[in-house]
Structure formats: structure tokens, C-alpha cells
């Protein structure tokens, strides 16, 4: 599949849309914890300084203050890195954002090992587990600029908590501007009949590359982009696996308690029995290095997906 290399990462795309939206609606505010030049929230801050609060290097205080303002009815965005937002500030997210179901939108960069170069302290590889576990939390993971911009609009389009996982580095552009996204939706960037590879975020591109290679072996892989992790698109997944009869989940996250566990439990509950495998960190931390080499080392690169897909096909 010929994909256009992206010029900007998803963290920049959502910040660009936030800046643009800031001129269209004056109700929302943005909280930052001193990484505004990294999350690109400074773009909004420069344009709307009275609606931008840089709370210093204090993610817990930032999240709790955002909750306090949201308790006043104010739509509130919090920008930061996944490890700090979903772990250091986790209790504030759980007890003071999700429990009162407040209108706080968390834009969380450095998801998975897309921040491989920064090392494990900066790689959010458990964020999906933490966030999807929280009652009432909506979780989105866009893979490109168009879906990141759409994620902003979807989040600001409803009252309640939401988490958006974003990437440090630019990968590819997949969706034309104007593509429709919805909470609980999915897209199928590649159709196939032999197995379903479901992924989200950067892993959509790894899955598409793997599908290209599988095609050369005569295997037609279908690639499902589950950009909405919670809620997720049960209808499309069911339709896909009923045709393909095999399911491979590719996620840049711990396998344990990631989307794979959710889908496996759903299959069992629904009485769907099929060859199933997971791509993701296998109860281990990654390391610092280049993104492609880190994926390769931890079995999340296209070659690993191809190899796992072959085994699933053999089990059918």
C-alpha cells in the first residue's frame, strides 16, 4: 500500500486543530504541565493566553485543577505525556474526573514505543489498560493527521471524560481530509478474506505493511483500524472475523490488559471460537533506540506480524 509519509505527528495535528477550534468556539480551556513546546499546546497558548494554564512540572496538580475547573462546567483539555498523565495523575483522572464524569479531555503524547528514543520512562505502554479500565472514559487512538483532527472534534463534541493517545513522531497519512470518524467506529483500510489484523495508532501502519508482504505469499489479510478503543466497533469486527475466521491484534502496548484482552474476552462471551494471537509487549519493558528497531526487537514489526499471521492461517 502506497502511503504518503506524514509531515507532522498526531500530537501536532491535534494541537493544530485545537488552535483552529479555539477561534471558532470560546468555551474550552487548555492545561499544560511545562511541555507545551512538545505537545504543541503552546500554539493555543500563544493565541489564547487567557484560556491557557501552564501549571509547571506538576501533572497531578494540573489534572486536579483541570477537574476543579471542569466541575464549574468548563470544557477542559489537559495536554501531556502518556506516562505522566496516566500514571502520576491517574488517581485524579479516576476519582476526580471519571467518578464525577467531568468534561476533561486528555491529549496524551508519546503513546507506546513511538517515543522509543526517549526510553522506558517516557514510553506509555500501559496507558490503554489504565484508561479503558476507568468507568465512563472514552478512549481514541488516531493514526494520522486527519483522524487526529477528527479526534479533537469528537472529544469536544460531547460532555464527559475522554483520552486520546498520540504519537511523538510522524509516520504516514492514511485518511483523506473529510473522512468520517465516530466514537465507537472503525475503518477498514484494507479488505481481505484470510485473516483479520486489528490494530490502532501506529500499529495500523505496521499491519498494512505486513498485509502487503502476506499478499506476496498469497494471503489476503484484512486490516481493521480500531481508532475508537472504548467503545469499540463490535459490529465491524464481528462481520470481519466471520468472513476471515482468524484474528490477530496488533497493539503498541502491553499485551496484558490491552485491547487484545478485551477482544479475546468478548469472543469467548459471544461464543466465537477462532485462531487468535496478540502482537505487543509480552510482559516486558522496551528500551531506548530507534522506533523500527525497537518494534523489531520486541516482536511488533511487520515481519513479526507476518510470522504470527502465518501461524494463525495454519491453525484454521
Amino acid at each position: 500500500m502506497n502511503l504518503v509519509p506524514a509531515k507532522i505527528p498526531t500530537r501536532r495535528a491535534i494541537a493544530d486543530r485545537m488552535l483552529q477550534s479555539g477561534g471558532q468556539r470560546d468555551d474550552f480551556v487548555v492545561f499544560e504541565s511545562d511541555i507545551g513546546y512538545s505537545t504543541y499546546s503552546y500554539l493555543f497558548g500563544d493565541a489564547y493566553p487567557k484560556r491557557y494554564f501552564n501549571m509547571g512540572i506538576a501533572e497531578l496538580g494540573t489534572m486536579a485543577a483541570a477537574a476543579g475547573m471542569a466541575a464549574e462546567g468548563r470544557p477542559t483539555v489537559v495536554c501531556g505525556y502518556g506516562v505522566f498523565l496516566t500514571m502520576r495523575a491517574l488517581e485524579a483522572v479516576r476519582s476526580f474526573v471519571c467518578y464525577p464524569h467531568l468534561n476533561v479531555k486528555i491529549f496524551s503524547s508519546h503513546g507506546g514505543v513511538t517515543a522509543a528514543i526517549d526510553g522506558v520512562t517516557h514510553q506509555a505502554t500501559e496507558d490503554i489498560a489504565f484508561m479503558t479500565t476507568l468507568p465512563g472514559m472514552t478512549v481514541l487512538v488516531p493514526c494520522d493527521s486527519a483522524s487526529a483532527r477528527a479526534a479533537f472534534d469528537l472529544c469536544l463534541g460531547f460532555v464527559g471524560p475522554a483520552f486520546v493517545r498520540l504519537m511523538r513522531d510522524p509516520l504516514f497519512e492514511l485518511y483523506p481530509e473529510g473522512t468520517e470518524f465516530r466514537i465507537g467506529g472503525s475503518h477498514t483500510p484494507r479488505k481481505g478474506k484470510d485473516l483479520t489484523i486489528a490494530g490502532y495508532g501506529d500499529m495500523v501502519f505496521q499491519a498494512l505493511e505486513a498485509a502487503d508482504r502476506l499478499e506476496q505469499e498469497g494471503i489476503q489479510a484484512e486490516v481493521l483500524d480500531l481508532y475508537s478503543i472504548k467503545p469499540w466497533d463490535q459490529k465491524s469486527l464481528r462481520e470481519s472475523i466471520q468472513r476471515t475466521g482468524a484474528l490477530l491484534i496488533a497493539e503498541n502496548h502491553q499485551r496484558r490488559n490491552g485491547l487484545g484482552y478485551e477482544l479475546a474476552a468478548w469472543c469467548m462471551k459471544e461464543g466465537i471460537s477462532l485462531p487468535f494471537a496478540q502482537i505487543g509487549l509480552d510482559d516486558t519493558f522496551a528500551e531506548s533506540g530507534s522506533y523500527p528497531l525497537t518494534l523489531e526487537k520486541f516482536g511488533m514489526d511487520p515481519a513479526s506480524i507476518v510470522s504470527s499471521a502465518r501461524k494463525l492461517i495454519a491453525e484454521k
Binding site: 494554564f53 509547571g56 497531578l60 488517581e91 467518578y99
Partner: protein, 293 residues
């Protein structure tokens, strides 16, 4: 030290003292009924909460979500019996409902949940988190020009939480002079003397160094409490911290300054004894127009 404020008439002070006594009686009663809850830190804060809810704060129990009402955030959320008692006695909900404390389906959750009960401005109970939310509430008023004030009550043990100091820094940065933090300085926390568990003194100089205005009072001297809360609510460019020196368990002799009464419910015998003491402490009914219930 207090700052010059409205001279509060003696009769008003007596009325507020009566409200504080009523609050204390309801605290002990509800914790006894529930056989669970925190008496000590509720009793130490009763005079402060009485002053806020019956005099200082601009509120309307008939309109608990009134946009320009003053906010109160009980950051030491475990002391919610004092807040529940004040809200009920002030008319937010029936006093009889206090007997449902900590029971299934009760609006009076073990720690305060804003979505459950009219009059609760914030969800709290995890120490430091209420105060940090109060920052956001005060910021909202600063941003929009709304005139409401935000009062947040913290325990002295709560000051151990690093989050308190994140919040204190940001309040000064944004010049939140619409924010008043009240420290219930009873010098006891769960495991012992606050000064032993984690010495936080000098608390006044700490807050001053964080660019707060600091006032220290006797938290059981109603005239001082009312006057200081009023003077704290004046625009000064800085947030205000009131260090209220209090006695944990105040009003029930055997609970006063005793560590174990942090989170212990009274037995039937202890409850009877506490009630007798509180009855004996009541002034002649004819002296107060605030009235006993």
C-alpha cells in the same frame, strides 16, 4: 492575629456558637449511628464550618448550584460529618437524612461526592485533591470575572502531601485572591502527633514563602474565626491561608486531643456520655435566639 473587619455583634457570635454546638451534636450522633466515620477532625473544624455556612459564605440552600455562590471544598474529606451536618442544619436537605451516613444508597457517602448531594461543590477524600481542585474553581472565576470565592479546608496532616504544594505554587502564580485555604491545625493525624509524623512547621513561613498571605487564629474563637474569614475574602492579589489552631475532638472531653478518636465511632456508653456533656455545655435557652433545635 486578626485583621480589622466588620465588628460582629456579640449576639451573632453567640448564635454561631450555637450552630457549632448543633453541628457537633449531629456529628457525634451520625458517626454513632453509622458506627463508622471520623469524629475527631470533624469536631475540630465545627466552628470554622459553622462560621462559613451560617455567616461568611454567600449561599442559598434553595439554589445549591447558584452560579455566583461561594464554593467550599472540604479537602480533608474524611471530616465530611461536619459538612453534612452543616448542610442539613442550613437547610440543604432534611436533618433526618444524616442517619443514613455511609449506608448503601445514601447520598452521604463515606467521603463527599459532589454528584450525590446538593450543596457539595467538589468530590474529595483523597488528601490534597480537594485543595488542588479548588485551584481550578478559583481560576475559573478569575478567568470569567465571576465574583464567587472558594474556601478550602485542609488538615494539618494533609500538608504532608506533595500535591498541596503544587497547588499552593499555582495559586500564587495566578494571583488567586479569591481563594482561602484554612488549615485545621489540630496537630493530630492518623498515626500520632502531626509534628512527629512529619514535621511541617513553620507552616506560616512555608505558605508565606509560597507567596501566600497568612493569618493565624484560634480556630475555636468564633469572633476571630468570623472576622478572619471575612478579611481573608478581600482582594489583595494573593491567596490567603488561615492557620486555625484547633483541638481535635473539640467539645467531647474524652475525644479531645486523643489520637484514637481520629476515625473511631463512639460506643453506646460513650455516645450517652458525649450527649450528656454536650447537654451540660448548652447555655440557657433564653440566652440565644439562634435557638436549639
Amino acid at each position: 492575629m486578626t485583621e480589622a473587619g466588620r465588628l460582629v455583634p456579640e449576639t451573632r457570635i453567640r448564635q454561631l456558637e450555637q450552630h457549632a454546638r448543633d453541628i457537633r451534636r449531629e456529628i457525634v450522633t451520625m458517626v454513632h449511628t453509622a458506627q463508622s466515620g471520623h469524629c475527631g477532625g470533624s469536631l475540630s473544624a465545627s466552628d470554622i464550618v459553622a462560621a462559613l455556612y451560617f455567616d461568611v459564605m454567600k449561599i442559598d440552600p434553595a439554589r445549591p448550584r447558584m452560579p455566583d455562590r461561594d464554593r467550599f471544598v472540604l479537602s480533608k474529606g474524611h471530616a465530611c460529618p461536619v459538612l453534612y451536618a452543616a448542610l442539613a442544619l442550613r437547610g440543604y436537605f432534611p436533618v433526618q437524612e444524616l442517619s443514613t451516613l455511609r449506608k448503601n444508597a445514601s447520598r452521604l457517602q463515606g467521603h463527599p461526592v459532589s454528584t450525590y448531594l446538593p450543596g457539595l461543590d467538589a468530590t474529595s477524600g483523597s488528601l490534597g485533591m480537594g485543595f488542588a481542585q479548588a485551584i481550578g474553581m478559583a481560576l475559573e472565576a478569575k478567568m470569567t470575572g465571576a465574583q464567587y470565592r472558594v474556601y478550602s479546608l485542609l488538615g494539618d496532616g494533609e500538608l504532608n502531601e506533595g500535591l498541596v504544594w503544587e497547588a499552593a505554587s499555582s495559586a500564587a502564580k495566578f494571583g488567586l485572591d479569591n481563594l482561602v485555604a484554612i488549615i485545621d491545625r489540630n496537630n493530630l493525624q492518623n498515626d500520632g502527633k502531626a509534628d512527629d509524623i512529619m514535621p511541617m512547621e513553620p507552616i506560616d513561613r512555608k505558605f508565606e514563602a509560597f507567596n501566600w498571605r497568612v493569618l493565624t487564629i484560634d480556630g475555636h474563637d468564633m469572633a476571630a474565626v468570623v472576622q478572619t474569614l471575612e478579611s481573608a475574602a478581600k482582594a489583595s492579589g494573593k491567596p490567603t491561608c488561615i492557620i486555625a489552631r484547633t483541638i481535635k475532638g473539640k467539645g467531647v472531653s474524652f475525644m479531645e486531643d486523643q489520637r484514637e478518636w481520629h476515625g473511631k465511632p463512639p460506643s453506646d456508653i460513650e455516645f450517652t456520655r458525649a450527649c450528656k456533656e454536650m447537654d451540660d455545655a448548652e447555655p440557657d435557652c433564653t440566652e440565644t435566639e439562634g435557638g436549639r433545635r
